[in-house]
Symmetry: C2
Subunit: 188 residues, 2 copies
């Protein structure tokens, strides 16, 4: 049952669960504290593969620890690198790329994802996506630069050929300042 009465990250997870079968190869473009990376590892399972990216050393370390603690180190590969270079690291078609924009929870709030690198990273993710693959992006707008990032991202997505991609937006009308969800699907 696909219901909306939940928070945005859970909504993204519901969507991923409905589209990403076990054994898939997926990318966590913003590993942060590793919660989504672990979630993805559990989703794709032992026969799957997860690639994770973050520009912060702190995030990569925290994620590596979390993944190891849950015994998923063999299927997770972490890169201490900006997600705008995705296609340089990931050389196989992937079923999903997941973004969680904004800053690292509990980290330095001045280090946030930025409009230009986010747009580059999303463009890169469309390149490595296999036919029928999806991109999920949780977008926060409350922090400095958040609104600009959102605008740049949607401006880019508006230019996508609608026969090749469907870019959709799931937003809450009666929740002030809640993050919202962007999803992109590549045609089969």
């Amino acid at each position: 049952m696909f219901k909306f009465f939940k928070n945005t990250v859970d909504l993204a997870h519901d969507y991923l669960e409905s589209c990403v079968p076990p054994g898939s190869v997926v990318v966590d473009a913003t590993v942060g504290n590793g919660n989504d990376t672990l979630y993805l590892a559990q989703l794709v399972g032992r026969r799957g593969k997860v690639y994770g990216f973050d520009i912060q050393e702190q995030a990569i370390r925290a994620t590596a620890d979390l993944i190891a603690a849950h015994g998923f180190s063999d299927i997770v590969t972490l890169f201490h690198a900006g997600h705008e270079k995705l296609s340089g690291y990931v050389k196989e078609p992937v079923a999903a790329v997941v973004f969680n924009l904004g800053y690292l929870p509990g980290g330095d709030h001045s280090i946030v994802t930025r409009a230009d690198s986010t747009v580059t990273a999303v463009r890169e993710s469309l390149v490595i996506l296999k036919p029928g693959g999806i991109v999920s992006i949780v977008v926060y707008t409350g922090h400095p630069g958040g609104r600009e990032e959102q605008q740049a991202l949607e401006e880019f997505l508006r230019t996508l050929d609608k026969r090749k991609f469907c870019a959709g937006k799931l937003d809450f009308i009666n929740r002030d300042k809640a993050p919202y969800l962007i999803i992109i699907e590549k045609s089969l």
Copy 2:
């Protein structure tokens, strides 16, 4: 699999299918040519019930014929009445209320749903909704008055208590002038 790469009405149907079990009581607030009414009858099945509303005699007749042709007359009750009076006709809690705004396809394009009666009808539908019930609204903005209707509707939905209702919006970023989907969920 809940995918977005389809038209808005099909997206609404996917959502309804994931939330409305057979045997449910549902309302088609804008029967139009009856396509959604028939769809709902097939969705809820022989043990379910569908109430349909339209202010146009032409729409009620066309729908009655379509429903009869598919053998669903016994579970469908049609009212030649404005949907802003929903709770005066429907006296039992319903699982879903479905709206398809704009004008009657193939009918008089000057007869469209209007901002004030639409807001009243949606407010009424929240009253007859059972806990966990949903409202689905396909919103068109291209015709005269469409934009005003959208604004009035979202303004009303923004005032809903977020503990009691979740009002969400599924919109397409790279499809110009496509209708979009509003969904409202009542808490359990």
